[in-house]
Amino acid sequence: MRPNLVLYEEEFNLVTDVIKRLVTSANAKVVFLVDKNGQLITSSGHTEGIDTTSLASLTAGNIAATGGLAKLIGEKEFSILFHEGEKDNIHISIIGHRVILVVIFDERSSLGLVRLRVKKSGEELEKVFAEIDNKAGTDTSGLGVDSPFAEITDDDIENLFS
């Protein structure tokens, strides 16, 4: 079983920094990073007016479905997906088999440029996530010994529903 994905401030900032730079270097409208279960990790660019939670969940569904297709024909995964719209295009790639990088761009950029920049950012992100996995180490919860959740009381849980 996969450990929980835990992001501390430090790695979160590293990851967000890569995403921010990608928006500029690829001339993109928005860039998202989503985990394979459909949870948004971070985003940058013109996110106003975009339902980021829905986008994350549908992206993960899309990757899961094409991953299923890949297996059926004997491929491991399709690591890049591209959808072309009338105005906006969406470029989706899997980073290190575990997170999904989504780039939305229009005519101010091009598929070639996006591909090129995604490749570089992907390598940087892969390093950060390898680091995160290292840190989690053998602790299967990924929570570390000083987890704030160890202290959750029954009352805390009950209060969520009041």
Partner: protein
Amino acid sequence: MSFINYSSREINCKIVYYGPGLCGKTTNLQFIYKKTNPQARGKMISLATETDRTLFFDFLPLSLGDIRGFKTRFHLYTVPGQVFYDASRKLILKGVDGVVFVADSQVERMEANIESFENLRQNLAEQGYDLDTIPLVIQYNKRDLPNVVSMEELQKALNIRNVPAFEAVAPEGVGVFETLKAIAKLVLIELRKGTGG
């Protein structure tokens, strides 16, 4: 697998509603959506056929509030119950933190319930989860219909683990929030144990 972000102080957990075709999984989410304060929920996404059968999944994000300074978010998913959508069901189960098994209480759906429960066991096992230990709640739905199996019999057939179980009439909301609350609790307790994943 929950996702914990220390930077934005958020916990995200994934709950999957499982069960045979037409048992009322989508109806559960629709009722929760309808009755939840708009600030506490996102958009509900339903990837369905033209006849309103779930084709891939329904998705509803909920924010339950704060726990120890962390925003607690639950992502609710339903699977497609029809037997031939098994490949899709496996995909939805990836990264699940808790399961609600929705059973259809009607006599003629008893076999389908048991088959779906076994299918759940197998699909969980393929992902490395164990149906005997994963946070689980059972909901006996459609209690309003005339031809229902007795609770006693249903419990004997499906609730071998003796997990929390609720009678429900999903379109009217009977048992719906009780079920949700119970599974959310179990998932948080698992997180407290630190064995989550």
